[in-house]
């Protein structure tokens, strides 16, 4: 029904705009920064008389088709001085704009230019953008600016906790986030078990986090999309910037190629090896490094090519007995082509790889696992008129999964080499997104994505009686692995199982007045890959597995409704949203499931469901010396896995239980204050309901040890989490724009030294043999200092 409605809308939309497109002209071009020539994403090109406008895309390109005439045009972008000029449009015109960064003049009280305007008109809701400047200002532990830490300060986003990877969006799991770096999927977003994220803030231009109303051009994950774009590099001048911190240092060089026809960027970041050496008298290493590269080249007016790459590794080792290496690598080639001033296209060829390796000398074995894929994407943006724009495209991904390989680490080892069976899959999608101005007050964005997933042949696949890989033992009242009745063999070209799903997307904005609007959205999404993880928070060792004969794809339906308002000439903005979402086929694990080195993962998995709902509030002050935001989220996130028949209880008696990332209240306050040109201050405050955990309801003794007996899942919570961080930035020569420029950043993380519980575990004391509850807290107060420079 919904789909038919959408198709109808599409068709009417198309014919409608074709009729009226006759005596109109198209203005298009690129908007970039005047000093670096870096293209700018999300710049508004406004025609105040027509009450219409365009926005630059991810490649800085804009296009708008309007009636012939003479107009005022305003080009505005966060942190830049507006360009305002009169333009005569008689024929199609290609016009590039170069914006100048607004220098904050503190003698004036209000800095009008520096504003991230809340977009009232656009139907896109549930989206947050952060520029790399905002991210860099937020104080974080060890003074290392961090993308993931910054987004967890937004409403609806929480971190899984200190020292754990990933983030959770609107009560979703962290494997439900699609993380894209220059359009390439990143499978693990964290370094050093979540203490740092893999994104070097110096190399990042812009990021967007979609929490709901996700456009049809994105798919493959059900919770959110974090879309991150790397800088292209300065095509005017050779520039270097870097920083020296307590934990890591970074250096980034960028410059022109062939007199500004192209540019390059090369950035590196590394922590100092032997991170733990000062504390432990052990030969050990714990460090990470990453490398960001990008080359952009303008072939001619209508063609640009980009080559970008990312390579990161974490290394952890102790003596010869333990060595752990893991990380992502990504290589991406893109070609932007303008078919006409109305039709922009981008072709991407992407390779992504996640590797996890472990060498356990002390028990004589080596292990590696990973995922690898090749992705081809062809996307079009069709700027039909000032009323209607299209985005359409297609996408094919070939996945190869290495669930694990075991090797003896020396010739005397008693380990038999074994390779778990590789898995293969082919994921395809076609989509269309329409942005349609229905009336002066109502804008709609609707789209449809058709995704298919083909699980390809693998060497062997178990078969089970009644196709049930998990059985319920009624006598013992436990779920057990079923014993396979045989195996099927396949050729690589066989399709073991295929899925196809239509994913409608819809968003509407109704403008109440020029400064307020109401927006509503619905999106359906499918996720064909699952991260196998039965721990409270994900770890780098967790393995991705495809949907197939025994594992169904996750399917999300989400609705959201919001109210958006700008106050006092955009000085303040308010965003209030509520959402409700349901995920079908969320996998859950039978008790005691071993997920690592398991060749028959279907034997420990049951299909369940998840739901989440909540209210989010974001109040920002965008202008002035004092800027910042207050984010509050009230939410609930639960999951359940009922029995497959009336004879089975399911997991946790088939009852709904809180997910580990259910946080009832989540408040974050971020504020910055520019005291003088030389000194500025930043403060963060966070308060979150503690993470749900399971308490023991009894103890017993078995085989001489005390055993805690656990009851129903996640019925209790850790104590509430709260923390205050402050930082101060000192710029010795703020007026200097050339040569060596520098700043000092002083920070205190967890300023009142609260022992926030990362976990509570119940154990028998080794010496007294008495049962105890042990609280693990990771970071107390952490002062930091770092020095940043550029020249």
């Amino acid at each position: 029904m919904k789909i038919r409605f959408l198709c109808l809308l599409l068709i009417t939309g198309l014919s409608y705009s074709e009729i009226f497109a006759q005596d109109k002209v198209t203005l298009s071009g690129i908007v970039s920064d005047i000093s670096s020539n870096e293209t700018l994403i999300g710049v508004n090109i406004l025609f105040p008389e027509l009450n219409t406008g365009a926005t630059t895309n991810e490649y800085g390109f804009y296009s708008i088709t309007i009636p012939k005439g003479t107009y005022n045009i305003v080009v505005s972008y966060l942190g830049y001085t507006d360009i305002s000029e009169t333009i005569i449009l008689e024929t199609n015109l290609s016009k590039n704009f170069s914006l100048t960064e607004a220098l904050e003049n503190l003698n004036e009280i209000i800095i009008t230019q520096n504003v991230e305007k809340l977009n009232i008109k656009k139907p896109q809701m549930s989206v947050n953008s952060l520029s790399s400047n905002t991210i860099k200002k937020i104080p974080v532990v060890f003074g290392e600016a961090d993308v993931i830490k910054a987004i967890t300060l937004l409403p609806g986003v929480t971190s899984a906790g200190e020292g754990s990877s990933g983030f959770n969006v609107r009560g979703g799991a962290s494997d439900q986030n699609l993380i894209l770096l220059d359009e390439a999927t990143i499978y693990n977003s964290s370094h050093l078990f979540g203490f740092f994220s893999v994104f070097n803030p110096d190399a990042i231009k812009d990021l967007k986090l979609f929490k709901g109303g996700i456009p049809a051009r994105y798919g493959g994950r059900v919770s959110s999309v974090l879309d991150i774009y790397q800088k292209e590099g300065n095509s005017n001048k050779f520039k270097v910037n870097g920083g020296i911190g307590l934990i890591s240092s970074r250096l980034l060089a960028e410059g022109p190629i062939n007199k500004g026809q192209g540019s390059f960027l090369l950035g590196g970041r590394a922590t100092y090896a032997h991170l733990f050496l000062p504390i432990f008298d052990l030969e050990n290493k714990a460090y990470f490094y990453d490398l960001n590269t990008k080359i952009s080249y303008k072939l001619n007016k209508n063609n640009n090519v980009y080559l970008s790459g990312y390579f990161g590794r974490d290394v952890l080792s102790f003596n010869d007995s333990f060595k752990n290496t893991y990380g992502n690598s990504v290589l991406n080639f893109r070609w932007n082509h303008l078919f006409s001033d109305k039709l922009f296209s981008n072709l991407s060829l992407i390779y992504s790889d996640y590797y996890y390796g472990l060498d356990l000398g002390f028990i004589e074995f080596k292990w590696n696992s990973g995922i690898r894929n090749v992705n081809i994407k062809y996307d079009f943006k069709h700027y039909l008129s000032n009323k209607i724009n299209f985005q359409y495209g297609l996408n094919s991904i070939y996945h190869k999964f290495n669930p694990g390989e075991i090797e003896p680490s020396n010739p005397e080892s008693g380990i038999n080499a074994q390779k778990l069976i590789d898995k293969y899959a082919f994921e395809n999608a076609i989509y269309i997104d329409v942005e349609h101005k229905l009336t002066d007050k109502i804008m709609a964005s609707y789209g449809l994505r058709y995704s298919t997933f083909l699980r390809l042949g693998q060497d062997e696949l178990n078969t089970y009686e009644n196709n049930q890989a998990v059985i319920y033992n009624q006598d013992l009242q436990i779920y057990q692995k079923a014993i396979p009745i045989g195996t099927d063999k396949f050729k690589r070209s066989d399709v073991i199982k295929s899925f196809g799903n239509l994913e409608p997307r819809l968003a509407l904005a109704f403008e109440l007045n020029p400064s307020a609007s109401i927006k509503a959205s619905y999106n359906r999404m499918n996720q064909y890959l699952h991260l196998l993880s039965n721990t409270s928070s994900p770890t780098p060792l967790d393995i991705w597995t495809p949907s197939g004969k025994y594992i169904k794809p996750q399917q999300l339906d989400q609705v959201a409704l919001g109210y958006f308002k700008n106050f006092k000439e955009n000085t303040y903005s308010l965003e209030v949203e509520t959402f409700y979402k349901k995920v079908k086929n969320r996998i859950d694990y039978i008790d005691g499931a071993d997920l690592i080195a398991n060749n028959a993962i279907e034997q420990v998995i049951l299909n369940g469901e998840a739901k989440a709902y909540g209210l989010e509030l974001l109040f920002r002050k965008n202008l002035g010396r004092f800027k910042g935001w207050l984010a509050y989220t009230l939410a609930n996130s639960e999951q359940r896995t009922p029995g497959r028949s009336s004879f089975e209880p399911g997991i946790n008696n088939g009852d709904w239980y809180k997910t580990p990332y259910d946080k009832t209240h989540d408040i974050s306050i971020t504020a910055s204050y520019d005291l003088t040109k030389k000194w500025s201050f930043n403060v963060n405050f966070l308060f979150q309901t503690g993470q749900p955990i399971t308490y023991p309801d009894a103890q017993y003794v078995y085989n001489g040890i005390n055993i805690p007996n656990y009851g129903l899942r996640n019925e209790y919570r850790l104590p509430a989490y709260n923390r205050l961080d402050i930082s101060a930035t000192y710029t010795p020569k703020p007026d200097k724009n050339k040569g060596w420029q520098s700043e000092w950043v002083f920070g205190i993380y967890n300023a009142y030294n609260r022992k926030n519980a990362a976990s509570i575990s119940f154990k028998q004391n080794e010496e007294t043999r008495v049962n105890e509850a042990l609280r693990l807290s990771i970071f107390g107060i952490v002062p930091s200092i770092s020095y940043n420079f550029k020249f």
Partner: protein, 271 residues
């Protein structure tokens, strides 16, 4: 495996600290806990066996109460019935004429508080511990005492092992489970590491042959006694063994009915 690695990393993480806190935990009605472990140490007659019955108690109570006045018996596949008699009110039930038979199937019956509990299990053989190696500079840190009992896994079958390392110094015994999935048919070793262990100390090493079901039971049980609730731990849950309450299935017992052949070595740590 995963558990050990992440524990290690968290322990080493800068600034992290662990402290004991007060927590109000829920309480439930007591349940019967069955520790029916029939151990036939190689080279012994195996006629003297014990079964321990206790009940659960609130988590922070000091100790657990014995389950008294139960009728306990084991029947073998030749219909021999072995009655286990309680020693006063200790909750420990004894039998001195037990007949052990490798791969024999046994049935346990317990009547306690007018409810009847049963279990069935097989007495499984185990490979002999052939020799023991030690390393005083072992473990991941390179500073702990490491002890490896070596044995040869039979090639023709799936084998599951339950190891007990009981030192004569005041530290808790270490229990471990092991399966031959990646080492089938090879000369392999159990792995024990204890930082407190010094030359001259003794460790009783016991390798028990166990069923796949016991292996899975013990694997989960040990996972939950380690650092359950930690960020890298699996969801804790009630661990059910192989005993069932046939009178009232909802009042299920905890514990396990296990029968094992045991290879035992008393190892003295060398200089």
């Amino acid at each position: 495996m995963k558990k050990h690695i992440f524990l290690l990393i968290l322990t080493l993480a800068l600034y992290s600290c662990e402290d004991v806190i007060e927590v109000d935990v829920p309480t439930t009605e007591p349940r019967l806990v069955i520790e029916a472990s029939i151990n036939w140490v190689k080279g012994t007659p195996g006629t003297n066996q014990i079964i321990k019955l206790t009940t659960t108690a609130p988590y922070f109570n000091d100790g657990v109460p014995p389950a008294n006045n139960a009728q306990v018996s084991i029947t073998d596949q030749h219909n021999n019935v072995f009655h286990f008699i309680e020693d006063s009110d200790t909750g420990i039930y004894y039998n001195s004429n037990f007949i052990t038979e490798l791969n024999g199937v046994y049935n346990l019956t317990i009547t306690y508080n007018n409810e009847t509990y049963t279990a069935t299990e097989t007495l499984l053989p185990v490979s002999e511990i052939e020799f023991v190696e030690q390393n005083l500079e072992g473990g991941i840190s390179g500073e702990d005492t490491e002890i490896k009992p070596y044995f040869t896994d039979p090639v023709d079958e799936e084998n599951y092992y339950f190891f007990e390392y009981i030192p004569n110094i005041p530290v808790l015994a270490t229990l471990d489970t092991f399966k031959d999935e990646f080492v089938n048919g090879n000369l392999i070793f159990g792995y024990y590491v204890e930082e407190e262990l010094k030359p001259g100390d003794e460790v009783l090493i016991r390798s028990n042959g166990v069923s796949k079901q016991f292996y899975e039971f013990m694997y989960i049980l040990l996972q939950q006694t380690g650092a359950a609730g930690g960020p890298f731990e699996t969801q804790p849950a009630t661990v059910k063994g192989n005993c069932i309450n046939i009178t009232n299935p909802n009042n299920y017992p905890l514990g396990y009915f296990r029968l094992s052949e045991v290879s035992e070595v008393n190892y003295i740590v060398q200089e």
